[in-house]
């Protein structure tokens, strides 16, 4: 059996090597195959961004343990002060320390941002992958429903519901999560549709795999990288959306700080004391930038579908 196959080996071995490593000798021996493929590098900027995200998340979690000033303490002897040794990022119009408010504010923004996207994925993602794979009536109904949801201006609906229902952090998270689900549904469904028609899905079926197995083992792992990277961008969008709600005074109520309501509170002082708005805005900007970059880089890094040339 094996003897008969021997003559084909050198030729095939040659082909493999050439697809794996550019510098490998095409006529090389099997030993060349044992060399580890060149490691993909993420680059220094990725690590800066990842460290920044980690720092923001960790300080938000452990804010109570850090030697920070009380974010709610009003120091009437230091109103609207610029950055200084005593107040790293200055104080607001009530004399509260902006540095500690930015850190405590991250708590609200992060919980709502990640929480809403997780809820959105649970609803939209599950429906999307089922509808993209199963098609038929289920797809027609959920697909039309998603268009109906998307046709309605989300921000108006959100404002109405928040005003009617309440604006505790968990209510905001739930509402934004539901609002995000039609978009996540569409992304997941589109991605699932394109993978469902691939031959490897047919091939898995031809090997006797059940629908559940095909969904979880064949389609989900393929769809996941795209969803994960889109979700990080989604987190960024939700944080901005929470900021907009806060700006309208509809999110978590003062005095609890969030990045959004800090900007809202500072806007009246914009001409005289711009740092009231500047620092929370920068916090949003750099955090979102880092999230987007890390999301994109991770997707590329874990993409095993491209040959390691």
């Amino acid at each position: 059996m094996t003897d008969r196959l021997v003559p084909v080996e050198p030729q095939e071995a040659g082909t493999t090597i050439s697809t794996r490593a550019v510098d490998a000798d095409v006529g090389g021996t099997a030993a060349a195959l044992t060399e580890a493929p060149a490691k993909k590098r993420l680059g220094w900027f990725f690590w800066v961004c990842a460290a920044w995200i980690a720092l923001v998340i960790l300080t938000a979690i452990f804010a109570g343990l850090l030697p920070l000033k009380d974010p709610l303490y009003q120091d009437y002897s230091a109103l609207n002060q610029g950055p200084s040794g005593a107040h790293l990022l200055g104080t607001d119009d009530l004399g509260r320390d902006i540095f500690s408010r930015v850190i405590y504010g991250a708590r609200v923004s992060l919980v709502i941002g990640f929480g809403a996207i997780l809820i959105g994925l649970a609803i939209g993602g599950t429906l999307g992958i089922m509808s993209g794979y199963l098609r038929g009536k289920f797809d027609t109904i959920t697909n039309s429903a998603s268009y109906v949801f998307l046709a309605y201006p989300a921000i108006v609906a959100i404002i109405a519901i928040v005003a009617f229902w309440g604006n505790a952090w968990w209510q905001i998270t739930l509402i934004l999560g539901v609002a995000a689900s039609p978009i996540l549904y569409r992304v997941v469904r589109a991605s699932t549709l394109s993978y469902s028609t691939k031959e490897f899905v047919m091939s898995a079926r031809a090997l006797g795999a059940t629908n559940w197995r095909i969904l979880t083992k064949e389609i989900l792992p393929n769809v996941l990288p795209a969803i994960a990277s889109f979700s990080l961008i989604g987190v960024a969008t939700v944080i901005v959306l929470e900021g907009s709600l806060a700006f309208l005074g509809l999110s978590v109520q003062p005095p609890t700080p969030s990045w959004g309501n800090m900007i809202n509170e500072g806007r009246t002082e914009l001409t005289t004391d711009p740092w009231l708005v500047l620092f929370p805005a920068l916090a949003i900007f750099f955090f979102l930038l880092a999230l987007n970059f890390v999301g994109d880089r991770l997707r590329q890094h874990f993409d095993v579908t491209v040959g390691r040339l």
């Binding site: 059996m1 493929p37 090997l207």
Partner: protein, 370 residues
Amino acid sequence: MSPEIQTGNLTFPEVSDETTLLEVDDLHTTFSTSRGPLHAVNGVSLTLDRGETIGIVGESGSGKTVLTRSIMGLVPREGVTRTGSVNFMGQEILNAPDKSLRQLWGSQIAMVFQDPMTSLNPVMRIGKQIAEPLRLHTDMDGKEARANALSLLTQVGIPSPEERLRAYPGELSGGMRQRVMIAIALACAPRLLLADEPTTGLDVTVQAQILDLLATLQKDRTMAMILVTHDLGVVATRTDKIIVMYAGNVVEQAPTATLFSAMAMPYTEALLGSTPRIANPSHTRLNAIEGRPPDLVNVPPGCPFSPRCKYAQDICHQVRPPLVPAAEPNHLFACWFPLGGRSGPHPPAVTVGVASERPDRPDPVPGPAS
């Protein structure tokens, strides 16, 4: 996953070598489209014994792929009607529920797909993909399945298989991937392998290797095979019988040697004529078959090949020729005016006179030495 095997209601006893493995009778597959019913497979019948190989030949769109998928049951449930009979090892499987078919797929009937670039899951390691059907259809644990996967990779001739187990499909060449596909299809030692143009996506040099590999493995396992291709050269030396399909119909069916020595259907001749020949001088024009296959929604009356047939006469455009036996055993063809001056079916009385006006024709192109 092993409960899967017990839940089905089909049972497959061990069969002797003489038993017919697969018997397809008058299989029709019709897709409902917005333009009306599309008859992709039109009354195909075939029998396949254990260890035997049938080649199905025809142009793109002649219904070859739909035929193999209809036999296997891998067609969508909605919008597709299948009638006729597909009898696999004594069981009618044509309209069996997916649940019972799943125990058949992979373990008794397996399929090798056309494009090795898309038929492997790009984000699952090769070793896992080979072990999957083993885990599904047998009670092997992970370790045994892995060991089996390793031996399968060795059998299909992949160098340093140990490392390949951990590779992703993107790290392998096309030929390698097709070998992996074959390893996956053969994992549970199926009795029937459907190979749907297994070499179309590959380099010519690799094509022969893959076909030889299939032949070797087939002999070792007395596995029956349906080899679908558009290349008569491929099936000439590797099959026992050949079925030539055109527009969803069987137009000629014969044991391989008979087909090449006593070809009756002009379409078969045209197909063979369009194969490039090594003996021809360089830059010889390929003999393409003029025109296109008919629209399967509006098939014209008469012989479906008549618009492109250089021997076609009036009756060919009006009345479809039935599939009739030729002088040789097991040789069937559907043509009013078969090649080589043999007698065809009797054309309907209205146009009988036309047959005598048939012009003389050259002998059929000799087949490649087999």
